[in-house]
Each structure stands twice: as structure tokens, then as C-alpha cells.
Symmetry: C2
Amino acid sequence: MGATKAEHFTAKQNKIAAMIKALGHPARIAIIEYLMKVNVCICGDIVNELPLSQATVSQHLKELKSAGLIKGNIEGNAICYCIDEKAINTLSEYLQAISQRITTTKNCC
Amino acid sequence: MGATKAEHFTAKQNKIAAMIKALGHPARIAIIEYLMKVNVCICGDIVNELPLSQATVSQHLKELKSAGLIKGNIEGNAICYCIDEKAINTLSEYLQAISQRITTTKNCC
DNA sequence: AATCTTTATCGTAATATTGCAATATACCGA
DNA sequence: TCGGTATATTGCAATATTACGATAAAGATT
């Protein structure tokens, strides 16, 4: 035991959970917020922005990328990262749907 | 090593990351979706809805609760769970803010 | 009181994540 | 070509998560 029993859930549930999980770490939140703040694709200086080693940052970027939350374009020597608009929209809409549904018909608690 | 270096990030980043992390598991997504679907506070049958043992479900509920995503009221013998509207709204608004910001001024990629 | 039902907790095994130093890879400019 | 810069990968230790059986706790029912 110990591994998540993904086979018991729907593909959509697993997909959404994977995207959300990728966001669920302060370092990765900080990366996303930085990319949002600078508002352009950023080549290079993400490592300098974070209080973590280069290896660790690289790993976090890899996770964000494999979850589809960011994109990385090779730009000569450096790599240019930016937020994947579509992915963030998917998450945003998912949460909005829940939010709206519970707001319109709350019953107790 | 191994533990998240929470002290290097802002309180807000840690808080948001914790809430998002709590959602980042298919079982917990399934719990939230079920609570949303039935649209009322549910006493009792969450365990029967999930393909996991009672102990495991109880643990997932505990995590959702300690992250503030759900509320649980003791109702005699059983416990009545429902989604915490405020928490979901917080997450929803957080993602919407990112979404809007990157949509209005995308530059490359 | 004895038992049933519902939920929580403990203990434990399996697995995953986090973080970093060291190293590798790959493009760049001199 | 050689060194410099940027990023990725590997290997490892520390820690966290996931899952479940067993058991506990507490109200409900008989």
C-alpha cells in the first residue's frame, strides 16, 4: 500500500487532481506568482527568485511542466517559461463551477 | 532534507498551497464532487460512495477539514459534512485572478 | 446493559515527495 | 577549441503521504 489508487477514480478526477496537486506546494505557487507578476515569458532568472537550490527549482519547474501548468521554450542558451493559459483556465473554471453550485443552494452548516 | 521549506515563503503562499494541496488527490476531489452533487450536508454515506476503506476515507476527510475545505457537524450518531463555501471561493478567486492577469497581457509562447 | 452503527485513531507497510550536492548536457562567446 | 552560463539529471537522505486492518470511542437501538 501507499500509492494512490488512481484506477478507482475517473480519468477526469485523476487529471484534475494531478493539476491541482502540482500547484499544491509553496515553491510552485511562488513560481506561478512570479510568472504572473512579470507578465512575460521569463528566460533565466527563476532560480535567482527562489530561496532554493538550482536543482530543486529545476525539479519544481519539471513538475509544473509535466502537469501542463507552464510551458517552456528553448531560447538559445536559456529556457523561456510562461504559464499555460489554458491549464489555469481549466482549473479556474473547475473551482468556479463548484463555487457557484454551492452558493446557489446551500442548505445547512 | 525532504521537508518543505515553508519558512522561505510568505504566509499567504503557504496557506494557499496548503489548501490547494488538500484538493490535489483524486479521492478528495471525489469527496468534494460528491458533496457538490448532493448539494446538502451529508451524514453518513460518504464512505459507501468511495472505493476506499473507512479508515482511509476518514483520513481524507480529516485532511480536507484541517485545510478548511469542508466542515463537519456532529449530528447525533453521525457527522454531517459539507463544503466550506468561503474556502472554495478563496481558491476560485485566486485562480481567477491569475487567469485574468495572464489573459489580458500574454506576450509569447 | 448489551449490541449496533458511525466515525476516529493507532500502528505499520508501501510509496512518493522534497531538497541538495555532484555531475551531465548543451548552447554561447572568445 | 575552451571556458562560461543555463538547465537537467542522478543519487541519496530525510520526510510526508497513502492505504488498510485493528481497535477505540460514542451515540443509538434493542
